[in-house]
């Protein structure tokens, strides 16, 4: 993380700095990255490049929004990559009836797998990491069983326009992801559901004793994550013009968790930073793009990503309460 500008030296105490860094670090880092990238290469800010970056970040952002909600409940959803594969395997089956219906059915599949994971977490009280791990392993298998081993081309005009059209110069996918981000932010900040979600992440036992519908909220959160991942899957199919459940969505769970964590949402739950997640997803996308454009090998890009994750988590830890 690049340091933010500190307030006066008299205000320079550790706790305050840590809090500032947690709240605004990712935005400062994003701005700094933008400036550095633009100075190094003037074509970075060209419309074409910005469009490419937006196309690539949109599905990750969709998944990361759902992941932020799940992490807010002190959980984690490893199944999102497999849900993308599931969506990719379902879409070609129904695309003959039109893109909207195919996407809708993919969303239903996403909701069902989210409900499965959520039920395991909420009712059976299985740890989220294992519950969603079993889905992660199992669902990709199901997706490959549905689709067969080879990638299928998808030529439906509706899906293709979802994946590559733009509106006002910005890709449709980015618009949708942006709207979803706004809705998620409203959900977290302005609704009872959002309050309950954060309360459960803070202290599940106390929320239960306070009479909150803990199980219902938990299942809903995992369903939302599944639906968002399935929509991302439809986007990926539309953008690539093919359905390839064996490869699409691989490592998506890692990218989404990274975006959420870099955005300042603590893994211990009880807090969801939606705008931070947007910034985190953009930051990780841009840093990869910048490094690649300057011919840094993927190996070093991965090392840099690993270092960023460590720094972000270290910075986002609450000190003094340990």
């Amino acid at each position: 993380m690049t340091p933010t500008t500190w307030p006066g030296p008299d205000l320079l105490d550790r706790a305050r700095l840590t809090r500032l860094l947690q709240a605004y670090g990712v935005y400062a880092a994003l701005v700094a990255l933008f400036v550095v990238a633009a100075v190094l290469d003037s074509s970075f800010l060209s419309a074409g490049n910005v469009r490419i970056q937006l196309f690539q970040v949109a599905p990750t952002l969709m998944v990361a929004l759902g992941m932020a909600l799940v992490i807010g409940t002190e959980g984690v959803d490893l199944s999102v990559g497999a849900v993308i594969a599931l969506a990719a395997s379902v879409v070609p089956l129904y695309v003959g009836y039109g893109a909207p219906l195919a996407i809708l059915i993919a969303l239903v599949f996403g909701a069902v797998s989210g409900a499965l994971g959520g039920t395991m977490v909420a009712f059976a009280r299985i740890q989220p990491i294992v519950a969603t791990l079993s889905l992660m392993i199992g669902l990709r298998g199901v997706a490959e069983l549905i689709n067969g081993n080879s990638a299928k081309p998808v030529m439906d005009s509706g899906l293709l326009s979802l994946g590559s059209d733009g509106f006002a110069g910005v890709p449709l996918m980015a618009w949708i992801a942006g709207v979803c981000a706004v809705l998620t932010a409203l959900l977290v900040r302005r609704t009872t559901f959002g309050r309950q979600l954060v309360a459960i992440g803070d202290n599940r036992q106390a929320s239960k004793l306070a009479g909150l519908p803990v199980r219902r909220v938990l299942v809903t959160v995992y369903v939302l994550s599944g639906v968002l991942a399935a929509f991302a899957g439809a986007m990926i199919v539309g953008h690539g013009a093919e359905a390839d459940p064996a490869n699409q969505g691989l490592n998506m769970e890692l990218n989404a968790i990274t975006a959420v964590v870099v955005g300042g949402t603590p893994l211990t739950g009880g807090r969801v930073r939606v705008l931070g997640t947007v910034a985190g997803a953009l930051f990780m996308q841009l840093i990869t793009a910048v490094l690649t454009q300057h011919n840094v090998h993927t190996s070093y890009t991965q090392l840099v990503e690993a270092a960023i994750i460590c720094c972000a988590v270290y910075a986002s830890q609450e000190r003094g309460t340990r």
Binding site: V130, E144, L145, Y300, E305
Partner: protein, 339 residues
Amino acid sequence: MSPSALRPATAPAGAAPDAAQPAALRERLASHIQRRGALAVLVLMVAIASATSDTFPTWSNISSILGNNAFVWLLALGMTFVILTGGIDLSVGSLYALGGVLGAYGAHAGGTWLAIVLPLAVGAVWGSVQGLLVSRAGMAPFIVTLAGLLGARGLLQALTDEGATTYLVPPGAAFRSLGEGTWTPVLIVAALFVLGALLLTRTRFGATVTALGGNESAATLMGLPVARTKVLVYVLSATLAAAAGALGSARLGSGVTTIGVGYELTAIASVVIGGTLLTGGSGSIGGTASGVLVLAVIHNLIDHYFSQYGSAFTDTVNGAFLAVVVLAQTLLSRTRQTD
């Protein structure tokens, strides 16, 4: 993910005195199923498969189950220790691949000794960094080892010029004999599992691992070396993963760069199926041995009976099996705690 210390204390066993007798019996039974369930399933599966199939009990089939997979089982051995402390190690798959490349490089550049020492050293250093971040900086094991997964893969790519260079173990090198045949790998792995079991049950370190997984703050208050033990657990896991990779490269004859993706998940699944609780504090090496064998036998049976569906079917069954096992374990441990 949360340390068990944050869990609210379970209500003291509030069973009425007259109900204590059957409750104790049920508790003992549940504990037995949890500890020996994987072994029972394994015996049952092998018995049924041997009775119904002509190809399963043949030596060539059994030696292919054992010889081809044995080294990967070492990941589950190290993972057992990590999970017993309530942690998790996602980096082992990448370290397996890294160990393979380092082993092949060592054999190619300096002979058998370098091929053995180099992966072990790199694994130990990698593990100690992860362990220090977990124990001293207090970061979540999940995230530290996730970064480790990315970083180790990156290091591996850097060492091999983005996968363009493949290091070959020279034909005829003594290093190759470590991975050949069925018996050598099986004996090496079995010996390490026995050593691991002794380490866990017979040493102060093992007792500390179990104690700290059961209740970290209690272990700290008792004056146990919690931080040091945590670091050592991650060192053990990473070193075993790198060693397993090196032995794997001795078998394959080269350092395969694309290997190991998703192996951490199989290792975690084996440990959980073997009856070790993910919350830490309870589990055994014997259980993990049963767990890895159960998964290997399932894999083999599916290859035989459902080969037309391919690996996708194996994944589906593995995922469902893991879900069932975890569900059963949760129910069993709830019976044990009588909550």
